[in-house]
């Protein structure tokens, strides 16, 4: 795949976040907007992920999480995440970001302490999975920019439709 200097990506994202703060003036609104923008990206990006990774259907949610962490993050952000902290029935896990190009150069000022700077990633994952009929919720539970030792995304499986499109009439 074609690549570009990661800093251009990092700075563009940063400039976008600054613009959102200027436009929306409220940290919570910015967090929501980042998630929405991520979702819009996710519903498009999934096709490239499928096309380039030549991946088939996931066997189960564990497989899904692994593919996001090892293939997805690698393909697009040239980094990878670790999957950890599974719950007992394998419907919830954490993605722990080892290295995150979005946050290079970034330090949150005190007045933006509530900003979930990388929230776009949550939206991307949610949007991408929705397109393959897996509904999840996704949010940051730890964030290095807010002083945690790692960045951790919590991924929860809400429902999974086994039918492919188009659904049966009684769905």
């Amino acid at each position: 795949m074609d690549a570009i200097n990661a800093e251009i990506f990092t700075l563009t994202y940063g400039s976008m976040v600054r613009q959102l703060i200027a436009d929306l003036e409220d940290v919570n609104e910015v967090n929501k907007q980042l998630d929405t923008m991520g979702y819009n990206i996710g519903i498009r990006l999934i096709d490239e992920f499928l096309a380039k990774s030549k991946t088939g259907k996931c066997i189960d949610f564990r497989d899904t999480a692994d593919k996001i962490a090892k293939v997805g993050f690698k393909m697009f952000l040239n980094t990878s995440a670790a999957v950890a902290n599974w719950n007992a029935d394998s419907t919830e896990c954490s993605l722990i970001l080892e290295d995150n190009p979005l946050t290079d150069f970034v330090e949150l000022p005190e007045n933006y302490a509530g900003l979930s700077y990388c929230n776009v990633l949550c939206g991307v994952i949610r949007g991408a999975l929705e397109m393959v009929n897996i509904n999840v919720s996704c949010s940051f539970v730890k964030d290095v920019l807010r002083g945690d030792d790692v960045s951790e995304l919590r991924l929860k499986l809400l429902s999974q439709m086994h039918e492919t499109y188009p659904y049966k009439d009684d769905d």
């Binding site: 519903i43 498009r44 990006l45 999934i46 096709d47 490239e48 499928l50 096309a51 380039k52 088939g56 259907k57 397109m131 393959v132 492919t164 499109y165 188009p166 049966k168």
Partner: protein, 143 residues
């Protein structure tokens, strides 16, 4: 002689969102094509349910006396149909690898494209034509 006649893209709901013919076809009436898209969409779904084979996802190839119709469905539910001369080789690979890539690049990354809506992207058209021309050239149809 292998040859590619047309490419159609059908969205998740069975709507025709792209329609390009590479040769002059006997019936290139838009209404016929729209009908083809929605009928194919339904037949594809019915076939997947009727099939005795486990894990069937729908019709991949329809062979007629005068043409073959290949269908590639992405895991996200978009269908790409290609009408070709009977026995044209490797059409499934062309759809899955090349055309799908072009769709990701020049349709999905275009900020002026709205998902599920008709595809009007100049760069998709031009890159598609180039791809089809290259394939035809390889087959000796163009010089």
């Amino acid at each position: 002689m292998p040859a590619i006649y047309a490419l159609y893209v059908i969205n998740k709901s069975g709507g025709l969102i792209y329609n390009k013919e590479f040769v002059v076809m006997a019936s290139n009436n838009l209404n016929d094509t729209l009908r083809l898209a929605s009928i194919w969409h339904s037949l594809h779904a019915i076939a997947a349910q009727l099939s005795p084979a486990p894990g069937c996802t729908g019709i991949e190839l329809l062979q007629a006396d005068t043409f073959d119709l290949h269908c590639f469905q992405t895991l996200t539910g978009t269908k790409m149909l290609m009408v070709v001369e009977p026995n044209t080789p490797d059409v499934d690979i062309l759809l899955r690898d090349t055309i799908y890539d072009l769709y990701c690049d020049y349709v999905l990354k275009n900020p002026f494209y709205e998902v599920e809506m008709p595809i009007r992207c100049e760069l998709f058209d031009s890159n598609l034509f180039q791809t089809i021309n290259n394939v035809h050239r390889r087959w000796g149809l163009l010089h």
